[in-house]
Symmetry: C2
Subunit: 110 residues, 2 copies
């Protein structure tokens, strides 16, 4: 009925990369795991965003072979990416606080 959207995609991706370098597919599975399946980001969302982050200099890509021999494209967060993450985190907290303030207000009246 209503889509469960991820509008803070940048925040989530940068947050994942702040912990360790990851490749695209891994980000999708990790995000699902860490959110207990609340988030199921699609490839069609992730890859364009990832390329955008790279163009902005927030992440850097490098190729590396898995043990299987298969090539994977890993992403690493940059210094400026960490700055962006800090900002996004802050703005998430502001947003979260604002929603909860509105909810509490009505609850208080009910």
């Amino acid at each position: 009925m209503k889509k469960q959207s991820i509008e803070h995609t940048h925040l989530l991706i940068l947050s994942l990369l702040a912990g360790e370098d990851m490749y695209g597919y891994q980000m999708i599975t990790e995000l699902a795991r860490r959110s207990q399946n609340v988030f199921s980001m699609k490839e069609g969302t992730l890859y364009p965003v990832l390329h955008g982050l790279e163009k902005q200099g927030y992440v850097e890509a490098y190729q590396q072979a898995a043990e299987s021999g298969r090539m994977r494209k890993y992403y690493r967060i940059t210094r400026s990416g960490r700055g962006c993450l800090a900002e996004e985190k802050q703005s998430w907290e502001v947003y979260e606080g604002a929603v909860n303030a509105v909810l509490r207000f009505s609850a208080g009246l009910a």
Copy 2:
């Protein structure tokens, strides 16, 4: 740079109306006030959403004159609107928890 979007518009509007009947313009100012200016919903966002909520039967509109004599269009939340609000609230909590879980995870590693 990046828009501070309100994607949980339904939740916020229904939440306002759960406290008291309101007219459109009032919702905008109240939302700003209660969120300490984090939210500044635009008319172009509000009115279409309001009409949609009405069509879905979640709110009902009625005309009423202000003391000034001016006509205003008030909205009242319906029974099914309260049901919708409860669902939206729940899904906001799930979403909020999931974002924070992802953030905490990375913070724990840093």
